[in-house]
C-alpha cells in the first residue's frame, strides 16, 4: 500500500512536471511537438502506452557516468528503436552506409579494415574510426572533442560528406516516411511523432547500452571468477601503472584529456584539438583513447598509422618526436619517450590483451536484428 502511494505520488509528480515542461516548450517560436515521452497519452482504442525502464549498468570499478540519464531515461523500447536506427543504411545519401557500417561490433565498434574512416562512395576521412563503448562516461567526443553531448553526435557522421553525406533534416524526414518507424517511435515515446530530439535520444539510448566491463582484467580487479592473470600479464599491469596510467587513467583507461604523444606529423597535418579551441597550446593534441578492447580496435592512433600493439609500444619507446606541445609526461627522461626494455614491451602487450571483453564483442543484444 505504502509502495503504491509512493508510486502514485511519483507518477503525479512526473505528470505535473512533464505537463509543465510540455506547456513551456509547446510555446516556442515555431510550433513543434513535445519530444519527451508522454506517460499518460489518451487511451482511445483500448491501448495503454507503457515502456519498460532499463537501468544503466554501473560496473563496480568504474566512476559515476556523466551522461544526463534523467533527461533520457533508458527503456527497452527506446533502446530497440535506437538499435534499428543505428543499423539503418537509409540514414546515408545512397542508403548504403549505416552507423554500424563503420562501427563494427567484432572490432569493438571501431573499423579494423581501414586506417582512415571509409564512407560513402568509398571516400576516406582524415581520422581513424573510434570504437564505441562506455559512452555514458564520456562528455566530449571524437579525437578532437568537438562534440560536447552524445545526443548531438550522430548528426556529424550523418552529414559528413565522406561518411553518410545526408543532411540531418533529410535523414529525419526519411525516417518519418518509413512506415515501420511510426510504430517504433510510438512504442518508445508514446506517439508516432518523429522529432529530432526523439530520433537522437533513441540513438543515444542504444549507444549508452554498449558497456564493456567484463574483460579478464575487470574480473581480476573485481576478484571474479575468470580473473586470473599470468605472471607476464601481472608484470605488464604493474608496468602499465608505472608508465602509462598517467594518461590512460582509471578503469576507463583514459583521463579524457587531449595530449600530443609525439607522433611525427602525418601528411594530413591534422592539428587535432587546436581545430576546436584555436588555442596554440592545443596543436597536435588528440583525445587520450580508452584502451578497452584495444586488441580488437586496430589500427591505432588518430590516423590509424600503427597496426600492431607492439608498434604502439615501440612508438613510446623509440619513436616519440619532440615539439612545443609534446606532453610533459613524455619528457621526463633524457630522451623524449618512455624507457621500456624488450621484456617489458612483451609484458605490456600481454597486459593490454587482457582488456579484451569477449562478452561485449559477442553480445547478441548489440548486433543487428
Amino acid at each position: 500500500m505504502m509502495r503504491l502511494d509512493i508510486q502514485l505520488t511519483k507518477r503525479i509528480g512526473m505528470a505535473v512536471g512533464l505537463g509543465l515542461f510540455g506547456l513551456s516548450i509547446a510555446c516556442q517560436t515555431q510550433k513543434t511537438v513535445d519530444p519527451t515521452p508522454d506517460p499518460d497519452p489518451p487511451t482511445g482504442g483500448g491501448t495503454v502506452y507503457q515502456t519498460t525502464p532499463v537501468t544503466l549498468r554501473q560496473p563496480a570499478n568504474f566512476p559515476k557516468p556523466v551522461y544526463a540519464l534523467s533527461q533520457n531515461p533508458l527503456t527497452v523500447e527506446g533502446i530497440a528503436l535506437g538499435k534499428t536506427l543505428f543499423y539503418d543504411p537509409q540514414l546515408s545519401r545512397d542508403s548504403t552506409i549505416s552507423c554500424g557500417f563503420c562501427h563494427q561490433q567484432f572490432a569493438g565498434f571501431a573499423h579494423s579494415d581501414h586506417p582512415l574512416s571509409h564512407g560513402i562512395d568509398s571516400k576516406t576521412g582524415t581520422r581513424n574510426v573510434p570504437g564505441l563503448q562506455n559512452l555514458a562516461w564520456d562528455q566530449e567526443f571524437f579525437w578532437d572533442g568537438g562534440v560536447t553531448n552524445l545526443d548531438v553526435l550522430p548528426m556529424s557522421p550523418i552529414q559528413n560528406p565522406v561518411e553518410m553525406d545526408l543532411l540531418f533534416s533529410t535523414a529525419l524526414s526519411r525516417v518519418q516516411k518509413i512506415p515501420k518507424y511510426k510504430s517504433l517511435f510510438k512504442t518508445a515515446f508514446g506517439s508516432d511523432t518523429i522529432t529530432s530530439a526523439r530520433f537522437l535520444k533513441a540513438l543515444s539510448q542504444f549507444m549508452l547500452t554498449l558497456v564493456s566491463a567484463d574483460s579478464r582484467y575487470d574480473k581480476y580487479v573485481r576478484n571474479e571468477v575468470g580473473g586470473e592473470l599470468t605472471p607476464d600479464e601481472l608484470a605488464g599491469l604493474n608496468l602499465f601503472q608505472q608508465k602509462c596510467s598517467g594518461c590512460h587513467a582509471t578503469d576507463l583507461f583514459t583521463d579524457k584529456s587531449y595530449r600530443n604523444n609525439g607522433l611525427p606529423m602525418g601528411p594530413i597535418k591534422d592539428q587535432g584539438r587546436y581545430t576546436i579551441t584555436l588555442n596554440e597550446a592545443d596543436r597536435l593534441k588528440f583525445k587520450v583513447p580508452s584502451l578497452r578492447n584495444v586488441d580488437r580496435t586496430l589500427p591505432y592512433m588518430h590516423d590509424g598509422r600503427f597496426i600492431r600493439l607492439e608498434d604502439v609500444v615501440e612508438h613510446y619507446r623509440t619513436g616519440v618526436t619532440d615539439s612545443p606541445t609534446l606532453d610533459p609526461l613524455l619528457k621526463k627522461e633524457a630522451k623524449p619517450g618512455i624507457a621500456i626494455t624488450d621484456t617489458e614491451k612483451r609484458q605490456l602487450v600481454a597486459f593490454l590483451k587482457t582488456l579484451s571483453d569477449d562478452t561485449f564483442i559477442s553480445n547478441r543484444a548489440f548486433a543487428p536484428n
Binding site: 515555431q30 510550433k31 552529414q159 522529432t195 588555442n279
Partner: protein, 271 residues
Amino acid sequence: MIRTTTFSWLICSCLALAFAACDTPDTAFSDQSGKLRLVFDNVVGTSDLKLTNNNYQNASGESFTITKFNYYVSNIRLRKSDGTDYVVPQDSSYFLVEESRPASQTVTLNNLPVGNYTGISFMIGVDSLRSLADISKRTGVLDPGIATHDPMYWDWNSGYIFVKLEGISKAVPDTQNNQFFYHIGGFGGGYNGKKTINNLRTVTLPFRSDVISVGSASTPTVQLTTDVLKLFDGSTKLSIARYPSVMFETYSTSIADNYAQMIRYERMQAN
C-alpha cells in the same frame, strides 16, 4: 517549513514561467497584454538587398553579389519608458532571419505588457546556455532537423552558426568558383579555463525620440534595417580577396565586431 515554502515558491515560479513562455495570446490577459512587430529589412548600403542578381561594392572596391544571408536574433529585451527592461521569455526569444524567406523577416512578440517602449536590445547569435541545452529544448529555428530553415549548425564543433553570408565575387579566383563564404559562430565555450572565440554580439537600439505604445488593440511595428555593407566595412575592412572564406577561426571575431553594428533602428509605425 522552510522546505515547504521553497517548494511552493518553486512550483509558483514554474507555473509563472510556463505561462510566461506562451507566445499565443491568452484572452484572460488581453486587456493587459499586447503585441509588437519587428521587421528586419536587409539592405546593402543604399540599395535593397536582392539575392543573386544585384551587384554591390564594398569599401575595398570589390564588386560582389550575395546568394545567402541569414542571422539569428535572440534574447530580446524591450526598454520601457520608466527605464526598466521587459525581457521576452527565453523560450519565445529565438528567431532566424533569412533573406530567402520573407516571412522570417517579420517577428511578432506576443504577450507584452501594455505600455510605452523607448528601445530594444537583442543578441545576434545563440547564447551559450541554449547552444548547449538538451536537444529537446532546441526546437523551431534551433532544431537542426527541420528543413523549413537553412541549416545553421556545426555538427563537428557543437554550436550554431550565428551569421551566414555567401556570395560571388571576381575578387575570388576562378579556381574557387568565385565564391565567398562567411559562416560566423562560436559562443565562447570553456575548455580547461581557456575560452574559445565568442562571436555573440549584443545590439542595443534606442528608438531615438520615438515612444512605441503597445496596447491591447494595436500592434505597432518597429522597422529595423540590416546593412550587409557594415559587415564588410566596419572597424575592420573585410576584403573578399584576402578572406574569401571565414568560418571558425580567430579572424571571425573581427567580422563579428562588424556585424555588431549592422542593424539600426529606422522608424516605427503605430499600427
